[in-house]
């Protein structure tokens, strides 16, 4: 399955195979820096806009690094700010997290965790298993990666993201930057993710059912739209699954 995520932006910046096959004497850190360079720059920029969105929503600047360091899930963080400012019930926050980040369950199936040494190292590798880390480490054979190279890559990605958020939040606070159009950046992010995932899905029925679920939820339960829409969609998928299983049997 093709994971949707920020990773799609930097696919073309991936280092060449030649640089990977002959890592030789290069240190893990330098190899990781080479892997991460293009993606990291993009994450820093998007992180900056996240920081601006945090401050623009009326939250204190330091919530940006807290979200980025603790939750560390790019697209979800944007959404959390919107949900938090609206005072969304924690149950809805939980279900939204479950469904938006549900794709991470599938990353573990091919992420080369067996290359990472040490309990602490493995714990961090799992914690920091974002879209970009998955994309970088599954782009070539697991043998190409040492433990240090994987961990440094993940750490550098997180440093890019957190420092971007910090810079954006501080700039927003210091210069009281108010850019109304910036609110759309967040919508645009999800439009891009939806476009990418829909194209990758190669079918129209699922996406149409999802939009129908969202519209029904908007009409029936405007106050709890997200919760109802997602629960409804999961129910529809389970019914579809049962139907295909019955046909198979």
């Amino acid at each position: 399955m093709e994971p949707p995520g920020f990773a799609i932006a930097w696919r073309r910046d991936r280092p060449s195979i030649a640089g990977v096959l002959a890592p030789g004497h290069r240190s893990d850190l330098r190899a990781a820096a080479g892997d991460v360079a293009g993606v990291g720059a993009g994450m820093f920029l998007l992180g900056t806009s996240f920081g601006l969105v945090v401050v623009g929503s009326g939250l204190a600047w330091w919530w940006a690094p807290v979200f980025s360091a603790v939750v560390y899930a790019g697209s979800l963080e944007f959404l959390l700010v919107t949900l938090a400012v609206a005072g969304t019930p924690l149950a809805a926050v939980a279900l939204t997290t479950l469904l938006v980040n549900g794709r991470h369950v599938f990353y573990g199936l091919s992420f080369p965790l067996h290359r990472v040494r040490g309990r602490l190292g493995r714990a961090y590798a799992v914690f920091a298993l974002i879209d970009e880390a998955y994309a970088l480490t599954t782009a070539r054979p697991a043998e190409a990666f040492s433990s240090g190279r994987i961990l440094w890559s993940q750490a550098l990605l997180q440093v890019s993201w957190v420092s971007g958020g910090l810079v954006g939040a501080l700039a927003g606070e210091r210069f009281s930057l108010h850019v109304p159009a910036l609110a759309f950046l967040f919508t645009a992010l999800f439009v891009v993710l939806a476009t990418e995932a829909t194209v990758a899905g190669r079918e129209a029925a699922g996406p149409l059912l999802a939009v129908a679920c969202a519209l029904v939820a908007r009409l029936v339960a405007p106050g709890e739209m997200l919760l109802v829409a997602m629960a409804l969609f999961v129910a529809v998928l389970l019914v579809r699954y049962r139907a295909t299983e019955v046909r198979r049997a």
Binding site: P4, F67, V126, A194, E245
Partner: protein, 109 residues
């Protein structure tokens, strides 16, 4: 503004569930790999969830005022079009946001 306690709870809930999702496959790797239900959800959830989120973000469109609706939907259409054309997320988002900035000046509040 939300209280600090509530925000801490939001961060804690989101962080815990995200970590659990990332760790789950390593805990039950074998069973997940062979589950047809997991494969089914893996194939159909991502696009649907993202589309629901897009509709959610556009939920307050004033349907009785077509100009304001266009102000929101034209930038969305531009984002989709640019993305289908170049497949560069940052470029698509920039194009959509610039379109939105222009739309805001053309159709104020």
């Amino acid at each position: 503004m939300p209280s600090t306690g509530y925000l801490v709870a939001v961060v804690a809930v989101a962080a815990t569930i995200t970590l659990a999702l990332r760790a789950a496959p390593f805990a039950v790797l074998g069973r997940l790999r062979s589950s047809r239900l997991v494969a089914h959800l893996g194939r159909h959830l991502p696009a649907g969830v993202m589309l629901i989120l897009v509709v959610y973000l556009l939920r307050d469109l004033p349907v009785d005022r077509p100009l304001l609706v266009a102000r929101e939907l034209v930038p969305v259409a531009v984002t989709v079009a640019v993305h289908l054309w170049r497949r560069q997320a940052l470029l698509s988002m920039a194009a959509g946001t610039v379109t939105y900035a222009i739309a805001l000046t053309l159709v104020p509040g």
